[in-house]
Every structure is written in C-alpha cells, then in structure tokens.
Symmetry: C2
Amino acid sequence: MPSSKGYAALDSKAQLAPFDFTRRDPGPSDIAVEILYCGVCHTDLHQARNEWGISRYPMVPGHEIVGRVTFAGSSVKKFKAGEVAAIGVLVDSCRKCAQCASGMEHFCVEGMTETYNSIDRVDSSVTRGGYSNNYVVNERYAHRIPGNLDLPAVAPLLCAGITTYSPLRHWGAGPGKKVGIVGLGGLGHLALKLAHSFGAHTVQFTTSPKKKDDAVRLGADEVAISTDVPAMKAQANSFDMILDTASAPHSLDFYTALLKRDGAMVLVGLPETPPTIGVFNLITRRASIAGSMVGGMPETQEMLDYCGKHNIAADVEVIPIQKINEAFERLLRQDVKYRFVIDMSSLKA
Amino acid sequence: MPSSKGYAALDSKAQLAPFDFTRRDPGPSDIAVEILYCGVCHTDLHQARNEWGISRYPMVPGHEIVGRVTFAGSSVKKFKAGEVAAIGVLVDSCRKCAQCASGMEHFCVEGMTETYNSIDRVDSSVTRGGYSNNYVVNERYAHRIPGNLDLPAVAPLLCAGITTYSPLRHWGAGPGKKVGIVGLGGLGHLALKLAHSFGAHTVQFTTSPKKKDDAVRLGADEVAISTDVPAMKAQANSFDMILDTASAPHSLDFYTALLKRDGAMVLVGLPETPPTIGVFNLITRRASIAGSMVGGMPETQEMLDYCGKHNIAADVEVIPIQKINEAFERLLRQDVKYRFVIDMSSLKA
C-alpha cells in the first residue's frame, strides 16, 4: 500500500492541513506516479467546504495532476517508469457501457469514479486527490504529456482545458464562426486561447474594462463590456456559440439574445441556483441552452496533443502547498491570473 | 378594397362578435381567397384577451386558413382562381435578409408580418385573420394543398402541423430514434402522427391514463403516465428528443433527466412564466433545451406535401363561427379532440 502524504480538509469548516494516508496497491494495469504539480480548481473549494452536500472527509482535493511515473504494472503499455503522465477529473468508469465503449467515459451510465471524493471501483476506498505526493491509476485514465509544454502550465489543462476544449470542438468553433466566452478565469482564459487557435472570431464578455488588454493578449478578437448596453445590443443575433464559464449568478437571457439562428449557449458549470430561461429568445432563433462536462479519455489526449502542437497551456501562479488556504481565499476574490498550481515538491519542505 | 365580414374582439374583455372591415386591394403578386375553414389555435385566445400585452383591437384572430382562390394577380404563378390555397401564421417578411433568402422567413431579421395583429408591410393597416370570409396575401406566403386531404382537417396543419413537423425534422426524428411528446392537444396529436410516420419510436407523456388508448390510436408506441414515478425512471437516459407541446406549467428537469447523451428537449410554446432549469441534467449528458417556432415557407409546403402523401391531417371538431366563444371556453378546459375548425360558410347564416 503506497504511503501517501497530502493536505486534507477534515470537515467542511476546517482549513486544509497535512494528512497521511495510504492508497491501494497498483495492479498490473495501473501506474503509480509521484505528483509534481496539481492545479487548484474551484471545484476543490466547493468540495472541501461541502458546498454541494456530497463531501466525504477527510478530503484530499485535486484533479489537475501532472506526475512522474514511479511504477508501471506488467500490462501497462502507455507508460514506462520515469516518464511524465497526467491525470484529470476521472480515474475509472464501468468500461462496459455504450458511453465507455465510445470513449465517453465521463458519461458512463454507471457513473464515473472521480479523482477524489468517489468510491474506488477496485477496493471501495474513498478516492483522494492530487494535493498529495502520489497517485495510483489504471493507465486508461492517465494521459501522455507533450514534451514541449511547461509542466506546471499543463496541470490546468486536465480540467479547465478539456472542459472548454470539448464543447468548443463539439459545437464547431472554427473559421467562419463567432464564439463568445463569458467569464475570464481559469476556464475562460483557456477557452479564449483555444477558440482563437481554432480560428473562430472570438469575443470575450466581461464586466470589467480593465480586463480588456489581457483578453486581447490571450486571443480575443473583440472584448464586449457586458454592462455597456448599446455595445451588447450591437452584438445581437450574431453568435454561433457562447461558452459560459462564469460562476457568479448572471442572466442567461442577456446572452441568448446574442445568438444567431441555431446558435447554442453552452454552460460548463453548475450555478448555485437554477437559472430561469426566457423561452422567447430560444423559439425565435431555434437556439439552445446546453451543458457540457469535461471530456472522455480519447478527447482528453487529443486536447493535450493539440495543446502541445500549438504551444497552448494555462497562465499559472505556482504556489507551495503551505499556501493552499490563502489561495482558496484569493480564488474567491478572483485574485489569480489565471490558475493556481501547487508545486508538490513543497510537501517535502 | 375587398369588403370583409368576420368575428372580432373589440377589447380584451369582449366576446368575439360580428365585425365588418376592408382589406387592401390585391396587387399583381397577390391572391385573394374566400376562406372555407379556419382552425382555432390557443394563440387566438391569448391574443383576443391580450394575454401577451401586444393586442391591437378590433382583433380578428385566425392563422390556420384554408380558402378558395377568387383572384390571382397578373404575376401570380402558383395559383389560379378556383383552386384551394392555405395561409398560415405569417403573411409577409422583408424578403431580403439572409433568413428570408434561405426560406426561413419566420426568422426574418426585420420580423415577420403575422396573419393577424401585425402591421401590413404594403399599406400599414393592421392585419386581420381568418375568422372572416376572405384574405389577401402575396403568393409566396400561401401554400398549395394536396388534393386528397379533407379540407377542414388541413387547416390546423398550417400552425399546429408545421410547429411540430419542423422541429421533428430538424432534430432528426426517424428510424432508430426515440422521441417523446409532452402534451396531447392540438400540437401534440399532430406531433404523434408525424413522429410515428417518420419512423421514430414515439412515446406520449400524459398525466391522464384515460388518454392512453387515443394516444396509441394516434401513433404512440408507448404511453408514459408522467405521475407514475417508477415508470418514468425506467425511461431515464433513453430519449433522443422530447418535443414539449404542453402549455400548462410543468417541470422541464423531469424530462431532461430522460434524455440520452446529446438529447434535446424542444419547446414550441411560450410558458406563462419563465421556467427554471436544472443545469446538472444538461452537463451530465451534453443535453440541450431548445426552442422552435413554426417553419419557413418552403418547409411549410414540404410539410403539406408530406401530409398529403402519407394521408396525415388533424382530428378536428368543425363548428360554426357562432360557437367561437363557447369553443374558447372549451379550449381552456382542454375539451376538444383535438382542434376546433370553423366552417366559414356559417358566416353567411
């Protein structure tokens, strides 16, 4: 049983603090990795504080993991000891249903095993995430990392990257298409980079004029200040797709009015309260409001390979694990450009 | 100026009563028709009572019109005097925008001219609908009627028919697809007939077990009683599309949980209050909630031709115009199988 060290929340009110635990022994199809970097996703904060009411304690968060393979089981084909590997939001699924068979493991009909706070399908333990020194995972749920990318900046691709890459691809962001991005945070800044790279005319929506220069640097062809009513009206009926990455409460109707015929507004987060929708905006342009959630294993690898080829990764602020509680507070204030990543060597400090 | 007789609401509280008015003279591209039959759509009731706050009085409702051509202008190619013609929800549009150019006149960027309660693009008069003895319309916005169909039963195809045909086609209802229909009224009963005819496995949702036999007669492969929780749970994750024709308030989340991956819930009516949506059901299956509204002129003709070929039309109760106020009350009680159609010869009585 690999002996593990990490940071855990012991209950919903507690600060994250050092925590020792064990993981299951790696089997013949598993790899074990020494974790090098782990991104800090807003989900980690929601879960540490039980804001979705499904938390299991002690909780070790973290599902944007980059590590070095320390062990590869006898059947493992994708990795050798010493190579780097990435682990994202899910680490197992039934592997038998139509979704799993088609590489859409995140929609597994039996439910995916999440990287933390899930019940492990192998030994029924509670999965513990990447705010720790190691991980054990079946090779199917681990990914190869292009050699040219900076490893700390790769970590956020495993959740924020695939969460934006997948819907942009599915809804056809590319040349000749106009794509809006709502929210300029961990997800939004990667959505901008990706949509721009795909060749779409990319518009960043923001409430904050001071974000304009950064949005342009990240790939926005236009920046629309969402409080500027005439500027917003000028964008009416023009978008093929609007990707909504904003977590703060906001009107969807405001944006569905900007869609053209057959346009889609795609939500990739769970708002705290169910939004109401103005059906008029949908029926008068055959538009839709849709949802999307991470991506399957083949598409996650495709995304990493694409990012390697096009030299795309996250803008990160690297922190030691000892600063995780402070990082959570700064995350709540949106005081990060654009993703915290924990340097896990700090665990040894 | 054609002299017209009809039934009008003089204000939002008034019963419909006899009303004389004039229509514009037909131009070279217009036809004039003697109205034979006009369907009674729930919209007529909403508008007569100003329930959407946009009513202009005196209001002559009616946008499911079947008539006989009494005059064809010198440029008219589609019709000759003596033939039958159909007129639906819209009677004009800008004819220049990309939507109009692609036969999607109902999404005209300048706004369509509705058959009643709109401003006529030719003479700026208020359009008056089909609860009357005649109509004048540009031939582009009139349709040919297959000879084999019963004329009273054709009338509802012009709104209820195209409103269901268009989304069923757009979202691919056909062999190998599972399609749910919510609501079994004027729209729902045509949606059942059409989806069944297209080869989709068709499921009628209803709160009322006593509607089961009729739903099966109309084309349902299955009938799901929406208050039967175990039966509904058994349908989870199985629908490619659910077409929502119900006007009474109801939960959308209840149905989005039944969609499979990439499934769509399509709304074709405006609920009285904006619905809230549970985003979880959307992101966990990449599903969407969409809207649709009637159809363009080419698709409306396609629908009529399809219905002729497959002998599909509405189940109707034919009434004289003198019973229109009673019909409105019965409509509110859902006491009609499945559409009232006014025999306009009764105007002469």
